[in-house]
Structure formats: structure tokens, C-alpha cells
Assembly symmetry: C2
Homo-oligomer: 337 residues x 2
């Protein structure tokens, strides 16, 4: 197999703000793995939060080339070998796994979700993330926001109550909250109970710092709200650790290091009776289409990364109106724009 | 999809004895699922120990027919639907899953282990089970037994020491012990420490009754031997429960209800750091070939079910000399004899 990697800058439709900062463009790596005249595409969308960056991802992908061999059906073996490539980049590993699964799907002439045995299962509706800095920006985008049945609202900074009030009164959407570690324990217990009562929030994602196990167990004692962790869980082993104090997990290919560990996280979470959410970074349609292929297995989707950009290099699964539509196109069903 | 089921009686080469009884023939169901001119084969090898029997399996399979639909790639959905078919038969469910995976492999033109991404991984050597009633019978078969690099010795009854002494002195095989619940706690601790020291036993399988959690935790305190449970674990949820007191699990398709739950058991066990073994009942080459397709994922194999019979209706994976050879034939690689 022959591997190529290039970098590409995604332009965000509007600047994207969460509790930790604001961004208006985002660099990704696009990977191509070619075998027998067929090309599989992968994407690395690195996040500094996971000790990852574009240069690290690019180097990891290039160094991984030697581990590929000449059998695309050896995904499990290749995935294990990637763990020993130096300067580990979770998004770089994800990119290679995504490209291999796209390639295998194209070789077999079937979409990935069918190869995984997931045909005829309806994926859950996906939320759209409201990462606006202020009420003004949400007001300007209201018409677009109203096309989504579920909105995930970034809290933990700014005028939280104002934004929730606005969305509750101006849309019919189900509201979910993503705090990105923005609260401390006391504040979290108070706000979770208040917001849940007042705005009927479906669940609260990562209210506290990612390592604050004690804080999460206190929240569990003081509220009945559904609590989901995202930053806290990167692997199936993490899921085992956090099961005791939370209700669910958010899985992202760019932190799990790809599709295989994501599938393992889903399996372990299910065995523990946890809810499972599938999320994303700011990503092109490559990463989103890969995640969407697993979406029939989960309870909640937040696969809006490719709706946040205006220069998507590929056409693939796009969840306009919250609806994930998986097609019969082979692999990830991608077409270059 | 169109389903057919028939029963077939496997004749055992020699009567097979374990701690719970002796048997010389074994009835199975053979399932055929046909779609678009292609036929997938499955097998149910029911065991009364798991509240299963041949008539129950046959009825379950017939009643499951209505859940099949017309999309072989909907394995996950069909598998879930089978859980609600009345009079659940784990081997019946396994038979349908096995037939569907064989069918999908044939549609895609690839062997199941490749579709699962397991190419280029070496399966572990498989053991051959010495289920003899007495030393005489082992002596008569010695030449055959010597062709296997690993022997799994059924203990818990008869002249345990005599049999172990004979096999240790007359063969070069690694010895494993399978007690099938035959000991009590005090006896187990004494024998495990003694046999391990004297005969270098690699691990001890199911020394105590399947529900004796307390007994297993006592064994763990009193020996360093590797302890594996078989009868205790039928599902991924069971694996979570037993992880605390044992070192590994033995998975069988006929108790897990098929390939999907077996894969989940492997994933959960791995996340918990447990060793994984893949075993079988007395089975034809259908069931053994299905299990062999997962074998690259496990540490220990005991896939000798089709070597114990003299009227195998199919040719498939046969681990003569302990070596599992996976071929490029589509699906399970079966041929009618």
C-alpha cells in the first residue's frame, strides 16, 4: 500500500467558541492510501487538548507508512503496530484507520456501515452545536439553527442563562449542554439542577475538569441529571474507570485514535449500561462520514463538524436538519468536491 | 432471505467423558440461509448445561425465520431481534449468526476473518482435549495425542494424577487442565498448587461451580496459577462480573449465542486485561470454522470439536497438529463432504 499525506485548512463559517477559547480556521491532514489502483481517504483533525497538533499528526502519518504492508484486510494488525510508532498522534492514527476502512469498503464494493453489519438500523438524529460567543451571533443565525431538531449549547462561559433562554423561547429544539470543563463542583450542581428544571436540558456534557472523579461522584449524589463525559474518556479502559460516576460517554475518532478503539469503547460502554454519544472535532466530510458509519450503534450523535466549514474538500455524509443519511456508495461514500 | 434447518447426528470417534457425564453421539442443527442464489451455513450444537437441546434449537431457528428480512448486512439488527424470539436457544441463535456471516462473506467474496480485519495475525495453536475415561484409553490413543503441541486434560473425576503423570511422561505437550466444576474450594487449592508444581499445568479451567464467586476469590488468594472460567461466562456482562476473581475467560459461540456477543466478550475481556480463550462444544466443521475466524484475536484456542467426530458433514478449518489454517475461501470456507 502506498500512503500520501497533505495538509488542508478548513475555514469556519463563523468563529467557534467553547469554554477554552475561540478559533476561525482549523488545519487537518488528508491521507490517501492506495492499493491496486483503489484509493482510500482519511483525515486527521488534531486537537492541542489531546497533546496533538497538525505537524505531529503529519509526521506520525508519514512514519506510519512503514507499518502498512500490503494487505488492507490486516486493519487490526496495522492498528496495533501504529501504537508503537514514535510521537503518537491520536488523530494521525485515526486518519490511517479511516483511510483503510474506506479502502476496504471500496475493494468490497460496499459501504462501511454494511460491512460492520449495521444495515437497517436507524442512526439517531444529530445535534448541531451552538458555539457562539454571544446572544447576538445566535440571533443572526436563528433561521439556520431552527432547522435542527437538537441543539448542543456550549456553556461554561459568557451569558449562559441568556443563551439558553433565547434558544428555549425561539426554537423547538431539544437542548443539550456541553460545558467543556467550565464549572467547578458547587457551581455545576447548582446550574445543572437549575438549567434542567428551567430549560429541560437533556444531558450535561463534561461539566467538570476531566480528571475530577470526586467531583463527578458528588454531582451524581446531588442531581438526577444525565451526565456524559467527553474529555475524560479516550479509550475503552477509560470507559471502565468512569462508568461508576457518569451516565454516558462521548466518543470521537480523533481522540480514540480511530474506528477500532471507538468500536471497543461502544462495546464496553454498552456492557456497563452506559449511554453512548458519538461526537467530532471541526472536521471535513471524511472524518464525519467515518463516524456516521458507526452511528447506528449509538444513542446520541453530534456529527456537525462538516456543517461548520465553508470549504469542505469532500462530499460525504452531511447531517442537514439533524438527519444522518447513509448511502450505498462503497467505503465512506466520499466524492472530491 | 430463506431459511432451512435440518438435524444431523455427529458420531464421536471415542466416547467423550467430562466431570458431568459421558457421551458417544451428539445431535446438531444445520441451518441454511439462502439469499440471491447464495447459501450461508450455520450450526447449532446445543448443550443441556446451558438450558438448550436439539428440539429447542430447531424450534428457535424456525421461529427466527420471520426476523431475517431481506438484507444480510443487517446482522446487528437481526441478532438483536433474535433475543426476543420465544424459547431462547443460545446455540440456535449462534447457528443463524454463523449462517449470516458465511452468507455475507460469500456475497463479498472474502473469508470472514478478513472481513473482520484480522488478516496477517497468527491464531494461537489449539489444544486437543483428552476427555478419556481412563488411562487405558489414553494409552491406546497415545500416537494420535502426540501429534498435538497442547493437550487439555479433563480433570475432576477418575485417576487425575495417573492421567497427568502418563501424559507428562509420554508426550512433550503443554498441559492445560479443565475441571468442569469438579472440585470444591479446599480440594481445588490443594490440587492446583500440587498439579501446577508437579506437571507444569499452564492454566486451570473452571475448577469450581459456575456461581461460586467466593470460592474463586479464595483460590486467587491461595495460588498464583492462572484460572480461567468457562461455564461462568456467557455474555460480556458476565465477563465484567468475573474479572475481579479470575485471570481469563473461555468463550464458545454455542453459549454466547453467536459471533457478535463473542466479539463483545473478547473486547470487554481485553479492556479488563483478561486472557481470552476460544473453545467449542462437540461441533462439525461449520461451528469450528466460524470460531476459527475469530481466533486471531485470542490467547488460547481449544477448537478441536470437529476432530472428535468421524462423520463431519463439511470440510472446513481443521486444526490437525494444533495449527489453525485460515484460507482465502469466501465466508467460512466450507465445502460439503
Amino acid at each position: 500500500m502506498r500512503l500520501d499525506v497533505s495538509t488542508y485548512t478548513l475555514d469556519l463559517t463563523i468563529p467557534f467558541a467553547i469554554a477554552r477559547g475561540t478559533t476561525s480556521r482549523h488545519e487537518i491532514c488528508i491521507v490517501e492510501i492506495e492499493f491496486d489502483g483503489i484509493t482510500g481517504y482519511g483525515e486527521a483533525s488534531p486537537s492541542s487538548y489531546y497533546n496533538d497538533d497538525i505537524e505531529k499528526a503529519r509526521r506520525f502519518i508519514l512514519n506510519s507508512s512503514a507499518k502498512l504492508g500490503d494487505d488492507p484486510f490486516a486493519i487490526e494488525k496495522i492498528s496495533r503496530a501504529l501504537l508503537s510508532v514514535e510521537n503518537y498522534s491520536p488523530s494521525g492514527k485515526a486518519a490511517i484507520e479511516i483511510a483503510l476502512f474506506d479502502l476496504v469498503g471500496k475493494i468490497l464494493g460496499k459501504p462501511l456501515f454494511k460491512i460492520l453489519g449495521l444495515s437497517q438500523l436507524e442512526p439517531p438524529l444529530t445535534s448541531f452545536t451552538v458555539g457562539v460567543e454571544d446572544l447576538e451571533s445566535a440571533r443572526r443565525r436563528l433561521e439556520f439553527l431552527k432547522t435542527f431538531p437538537i441543539l448542543k449549547v456550549k456553556l461554561g462561559f459568557g451569558d449562559e442563562v441568556g443563551l439558553l433562554q433565547f434558544l428555549k423561547s425561539e426554537t423547538d429544539a431539544i437542548l443539550r449542554a456541553d460545558v467543556n470543563e467550565g464549572w467547578d463542583t458547587g457551581e455545576a450542581i447548582e446550574k445543572i439542577n437549575m438549567f434542567r428544571e428551567e430549560f429541560d436540558i437533556e444531558f450535561f456534557e463534561q461539566p467538570l475538569r476531566k480528571e475530577d472523579f470526586k467531583g463527578y461522584s458528588e454531582i451524581r449524589k446531588e442531581t438526577d441529571a444525565m451526565i456524559i463525559v467527553d474529555e475524560s474518556v479516550k479509550s475503552a479502559a477509560d470507559v471502565l474507570k468512569w462508568a461508576e460516576v457518569v451516565d454516558g460517554i462521548n466518543i470521537k475518532l480523533m481522540k480514540s485514535g480511530g474506528i477500532l478503539e471507538a468500536l471497543r469503547m461502544i462495546t464496553v460502554a454498552r456492557s456497563l449500561g452506559l449511554k453512548v454519544m458519538l461526537g467530532c472535532m471541526v472536521e471535513s466530510s471524511i472524518g464525519i462520514s467515518a463516524a456516521a458509519s458507526l452511528s447506528p450503534l449509538v444513542d446520541f450523535c453530534d456529527l456537525d463538524g462538516n456543517l461548520l466549514i465553508n470549504n469542505d474538500p469532500f462530499d460525504g455524509v452531511k447531517a442537514f436538519g439533524g438527519k444522518i443519511v447513509l448511502t450505498d456508495a462503497p467505503g465512506l461514500g466520499l466524492k472530491r468536491v
